[in-house]
Symmetry: C2
Subunit: 134 residues, 2 copies
């Protein structure tokens, strides 16, 4: 299986497949002329990577997950620990984004959105930016 077919089979671009190899997430074989060859197990690994990425795991986390996956003597506690850390990260990010959304919704709701220059959104950003009264 060539890299092009592997890309189709895994839904990962050729570029990213080469990148994942570069950072040692997988190690496909090579033909005599240097072409990468993907065995079914490599495709499975690529799809594992893709699934983990879709769950938002960082590439280093994916690397750790792959190692755990391939380690038959892993403890599920390790997987759970990694997942819980990732969940904390995701929840923190969502909280940040929700705070931004709340502020922006308030401001946008107060903005007339007409042809006049007066705008609470930009006023708010500018006033937050005013020099310290100190």
């Amino acid at each position: 299986m060539n890299i092009g077919e592997a890309a189709k089979a895994s839904g990962i671009s050729r570029k990213m497949i080469r990148y994942y190899e570069e950072i040692a997430l997988l190690e496909p074989g090579r033909t005599a002329n240097g072409y990468r060859v993907y065995a079914p197990q490599d495709i499975h690994t690529l799809r594992f990577i893709s699934a983990a990425r879709r769950l938002g795991f960082s590439v280093p986390d994916v690397k750790a997950l792959l190692a755990l996956w391939q380690d038959r003597s892993r403890s599920s506690a390790d997987v759970k620990r990694l997942t819980d850390g990732h969940l904390r990260h995701l929840r923190a990010r969502v909280a940040e984004l929700n705070a931004m959304i709340a502020t922006l919704e308030t401001l946008a709701g107060a903005c007339d959105g007409d042809e006049r220059p007066d705008c609470p959104i930009i006023n708010r950003i500018a006033s937050t930016a005013e020099p310290d009264p100190a």
Copy 2:
């Protein structure tokens, strides 16, 4: 005002202040020996940038906001349009993250987290990754 003082006054690192200058968000003066000099207006601009970044606006968006801020004949509709676009982006991102969180919470909830290898989290990622039955 030197870059160090500007950094303290704006809460933006020296590195980023130079970067913002490089991408033409501001243009401080220079002393004879090449040191950057920040006027009060520059500090205000830096703080504007910081406030907009904290609201999650991308640097290109911040550039547009700065231009609108400095344009006394702007229409508030332009500001609102930009903000609404940003809001859509934020909401979409939150929805993605929430979907990941929901899946991961379910899986983590079903994972014993003990010393045994069996783990629904990794099983799920691996089975999502199985070859197409096709």
